[in-house]
Symmetry: C2
Subunit: 379 residues, 2 copies
């Protein structure tokens, strides 16, 4: 029995874009979907009411590495799982923790059995294996788990990329086997997605995808994107994997992207995306608007009584001015981060809503052209 | 014509406590009232919706010194005043800026004309006079302004306290004269309260109050409290001033107090209070609850699934556990400050609500006894 069920409800006649419904144990999610990132069991600055209530977020991402380190997955299990711990009613997707091991922690050792690493907080030694990261994610009670993968840095040789890709496939098989065994005993539905790797080499991406398809998973992730490679290559890697991956399963492009890139990924058959950009950039003073990026500290906004985005209907934009947000930002006020994050996440969700509507009404090719034209204008 | 109008609606038969209604240009406020502090045009972490909507805050305090320094009162005036700038629909009380000049800024020089000081942000030299701080507060569009006063440190000699008190009275007369002249031209209603000073000397407090009563002001503040003196003296100073101040005008005890002290001040005839404690302590990990203070980082809350306060109905308490808040606090998450502040402010407002209800129903003496008994139990 599938742990999550994906239903394609509309397809674009010209591109690979589709609109779907992803049914999970914690609700049904309209796709394509953007998932806000709740690293440490919180989307920074936003409450459940902001996210589920006002913004209508149906699924968010939490980081296994961070939660494993603090407060610990066993504590979260004892507290009734991550949904209950963070008071989140809708779906949760967790990564495997592998990416943070590679990007955050010092001193790590990769073997065929897994990866040994030191906590970035206290230096304690830990090991993640394909099996253990499934167990950690099951302790969290995630709706969608990721298999442990190795994400090589960019650039990397074809030889190393191939080695990492092959290890990723072996780990995915082990994680899958372990997950299927656990599923016989664990309550609830928890899908495991393997991750396509292969750096910027289309042949490796294709081989990886083909090997993973054999697992018959409920969905597939495409990882190793947005790690420094040119954007044209990221999109090419998605294309290489996508033509192999089954059309009836959701595809999740990990860690992307900029607002103007979202439609590009969708046009290549991507159904799910996540990115820290809306929240992190908000805190750093960058607001995404329907008229482009707004850098709030600029002197030109000093007495600007307009909302950040005149076409946005979020709480921040209906209530506060650029001048006020600039004052809060320059004063280091918490409320700035709260209001800016709320707006930026809303902007991403609005874009996804536009994309989904365009696909549903058969107008996605026109929508994509308009996004591309706006990008050219902005250059 | 009075700029704010105060109406006593119930009096305690045994104490000096009373319940009232304070009518301002931005709404009517039930008293006794606690005013959350919005130093830099924001109560840290809380939006207008949190404050006016969920918490029902009818009046908040903003700091003239901070807003004068950044973003500047002229900017706020051009943006339509502080209410509009910070999107706040209800009443605003501003202090004169004097207290921050004495507590925050370096290098200051007090003369009979006013006080010269350097900005704590950039070292720029500024002068506050009784007239100029009225003008700054009128530029902000405050509903209730404070006259410039000199708040001496504690302890201080009787001789210096007397000198500072006499200067405070002279400044209050000048501020009052200037304010009355301005009121002939400025739109809206903006009351000016003079401030009773006199350190911990009852004779000075009485003399100061008597001199200020001659101004026939719309209300009176009692300043120089909670600057390090023993609490028993703070309360005695309120008593000394209160017996002189007119019963038909609101009395505002500045910068107090701890939760268990609120009823003590009210029992001595105080109608308005403000304090940074609920918000500042929240951020520092101290939660005020109906069962006493809770230090969220304590290990005992690690797996405590209960809300911070089991009898509280605030959003934080209805939705989140001690274990989760502890995790957020230890992780340095913004959401911790947001949720904790929301709870602590609610706790203060709930206490004021209890106090007001007790006065209205004639049960304030019993209420006060129960608060005192709880304090003894806690010791």
């Amino acid at each position: 029995m599938s742990q999550v069920f994906f239903e394609v409800v509309a397809q674009c006649p010209q591109t690979r874009a589709r609109a779907g419904l992803l049914h999970t144990a914690h609700g049904t999610i309209g796709t394509p979907v953007f998932m806000p990132v709740g690293t440490q069991a919180t989307v920074k600055g936003l409450s459940e009411r902001d996210l589920a209530g006002e913004l209508g977020v149906e699924i968010l991402l939490a980081n296994t590495y961070h939660l494993f380190i603090r407060p610990g997955h066993e504590l979260i299990r004892r507290m009734g799982g991550l949904h209950r711990f963070m008071s989140w009613p809708n779906a949760i997707l967790t990564d495997s923790g592998g990416f943070q091991v590679f990007s955050l922690s010092g001193l790590r050792k990769i073997t065929d059995q897994g990866v040994e690493f030191r906590s970035h907080l206290d230096g304690d030694l830990h090991v993640f294996t394909p099996q253990s990261t499934v167990d950690v994610q099951l302790a969290l009670g995630s709706d969608i788990l990721m298999a442990l993968d190795e994400c090589p840095p960019y650039p990397v040789s074809h030889a190393y990329a191939r080695e990492a890709m092959e290890r990723t496939v072996r780990w995915a098989c082990e994680a899958d086997r372990h997950h299927r065994r656990q599923m016989e005993e664990v309550l609830g539905r928890h899908a495991l997605f393997p991750v396509v790797q292969g750096s910027v080499f289309p042949d490796l991406r294709r081989r990886c995808a083909a090997a993973l398809v054999d697992l018959g998973s409920d969905g597939y992730a495409i990882g190793g994107l947005a790690v420094g490679e040119p954007r044209v290559l990221s999109l090419e890697m998605v294309e290489a994997a996508e033509e192999i991956l089954p059309r009836d399963r959701p595809r999740y492009a990990m860690g992307v992207g900029m607002p103007e890139e979202l439609a590009e990924y969708v046009s290549r058959g991507v159904d799910m995306m996540d990115c820290v950009l809306p929240s992190r950039n908000a805190r750093n003073g960058y607001l995404f608007t329907s008229a482009g990026r707004l850098i709030i500290k600029h002197a030109r906004y000093k007495e600007d009584g307009r909302p950040p985005d005149e076409r946005c209907r979020c709480y921040t934009c209906t209530r506060y001015s650029r001048a006020y947000l600039r004052h809060l930002f320059l004063s280091g006020e918490i409320l700035y981060a709260v209001l800016a994050t709320r707006h930026n996440v809303r902007r991403y969700l609005d874009i996804m809503q536009e994309i989904r509507q365009a696909i549903m009404s058969g107008l996605f090719p026109e929508y994509l052209r308009s996004v591309r034209a706006a990008c050219v204008d902005a250059e």
